[in-house]
Amino acid sequence: MNGAVLRASLGAVARTLAIVSLGTGAFFFLILLSFPSFIGEGGIAAEFFREPPRYIEAFLGGSASFVEPSGWLVVGMTHPVILALQTSGALMIAAGSVAAELERGSLELVLTRPVRRSSFLAAKMTASLVAVTVVHLGGLAGVLVARATIAEVGAIDVTDALLAILGSMVLFWAFAAVGTLVSAVSSLRGRAVGAGVGIIVASFFLNFLSNLFEGLRWLGYASPFHYFRAGDLVEGRGLADLWVLVGLGVAAAFLAFRRFARRDLTS
């Protein structure tokens, strides 16, 4: 892996990454801040979330005790704003790793120096994993601050929160690897970003459908979201499924390296 490429890749997104990470932390804090109003004593949605309608449960990725603080954290993890922030963390470097450099015309300057393509891509992929990690650490910080400052969510178990954040991180690591693969076969950044976002949205929708309709349950296996169930993770289950996501990430990375190594680099 090329250290200079890694540093330059992270340096180029440092400000954006810091904002997305802070935003993720802030949003988790706000979600947990809303817990007393929705679920706490006299909360307006306690009954609703005690036994949520099926489509809500499907949207939230499965069943959990949503009226508990840790269950409310699970609700937060599938909030569209959080998903959007995490998607941006996964794709901000990955989707542009090859396509943006090629489109801009900067890849030629780098790869006509004695830098192996594998070493270049490894640096880009590592930078993407770091970006995902930083965004999730921001989220974790938001949860921990909320836990320490909001009495009603003080009961959230730190280990449960860590497991849920870890699961989400592994999911988005896998998406970052998929994003790098898409970028490795693209010549336009916009197309790579669009395809990356499309894959994530389609995966979410596929999982939603499989949760909603018994007859489509099998579809869920094709969605990475199926293997990340925050509701299970906060109850200490479903950890083994994360290995499927690790496998998906490794497979995507392998294909990205293979494709990039053989590709003609013409803009």
Binding site: N2, A4, V5, A8, G11, A12, E103, R104, G105, S106, E108, L109, V110, L111, T112, R113, P114, V115, R116, R262, D264, L265, T266, S267
Partner: protein, 296 residues
């Protein structure tokens, strides 16, 4: 001297399009070789094959004695490269970019400061993000990054695009210095005056095929000379000279093209009452259009 660039039977197809077809040439150490051709002739594809960005369909390529297919990294360690169309990272400063690219090359960027000074890249300029740079400024950064390591072989693709005349002049001086220090230049361009000024030998590419390789001066020297002749009195029996083509004028003033032995022409003129004589060699531009006709 040995060849630092060897291209043998290079072909590259993109689908149905044959971008380069069986091109062979070599560049000796210390030589300045011009690679000429109109846009789309295959110059950039040849260079990209040579630098490992594109895999050839057929052929053998060696740089500094290293096979490009199997020993690319060691080959690239001997090269400084300025692409024809390149982009820089918009959020980075000029200084950061030169530092970044410098860190990717095994040779230290010893010439960076001197080159920045020569091309008027002040510390203030270098401290700005390149998204605020003009085309010419970006080109200067491109030139500095190509030469900063003093690599033995410098490959330049349309290097003076965007430079003003003063900077072009400094660039030509830089090429001369590089050669004086024993360096080699492979200069690809469609700007003929630049090739004429900076190279010893040229290869002319037409629709992916190398149609001519030879000394730059030969490309023009064995071709037409433009002659303007003024006589003090009309030639007795009319003007009759060897090797003359397309003559214009009458009585005392003539303009004609001459092809062949110039000594023979001068001997024939000795018998005439010559008042003034101007012989201009055909420029590379003319030779180029003569070779290409419709533009290749």
């Amino acid at each position: 001297m040995s060849a630092i660039v060897e291209v043998e039977g290079l072909s590259k197809r993109f689908g149905d399009v044959e971008a380069v077809a069986g091109v062979s040439f070599s560049v000796e150490e210390g030589e300045a070789f011009g690679y000429l051709g109109p846009n789309g002739a295959g110059k950039t594809t040849t260079i990209r094959c040579l630098l490992g960005l594109v895999t050839p369909t057929a052929g053998r390529l060696r740089v500094a004695g290293r096979d490009v297919g199997s020993d690319l990294q060691r080959a690239l360690a001997e090269v400084g490269y300025l692409p024809g169309e390149f982009g820089l990272w918009p959020s980075m400063t000029g200084e950061e970019i030169l530092g970044y690219l410098g860190a990717l090359h095994p040779r230290p960027p010893d010439r960076r400061d001197e080159l920045c000074e020569r091309f008027d890249l002040s510390p203030r300029d270098l401290g700005r993000q390149v998204r605020f740079y003009s085309r010419g400024m970006k080109q200067k950064v491109g030139i500095v990054q190509a030469f900063q390591h003093a690599a033995p072989l410098v490959v330049l693709d349309e290097p003076t695009e965007g430079l003003d005349p003063v900077m072009k002049d400094r660039f030509v001086s830089l090429l001369a210095e590089h050669r004086a220090a024993g360096g080699t230049i492979l200069l690809s361009s469609h700007i003929l005056s630049e090739v004429e000024l900076a190279t010893d030998r040229v290869g002319v590419l037409r629709r992916g095929e190398l149609v001519k390789v030879g000394p730059t001066r030969d490309l023009t020297g064995d071709r037409v000379r433009h002659v303007t002749l003024t006589l003090t009195k009309p030639a007795p029996g009319g003007l009759s000279l060897p090797g003359v083509e397309t003559i214009e004028g009458s009585e005392r003033q003539f303009r004609f093209d001459h092809r062949g032995d110039v000594g023979e022409l001068l001997r024939a003129l000795a018998g005439l009452a010559v008042e003034d004589l101007l012989i201009q060699p055909e420029t590379l531009t003319e030779a180029f259009f003569d070779i290409y006709g419709d533009g290749g």
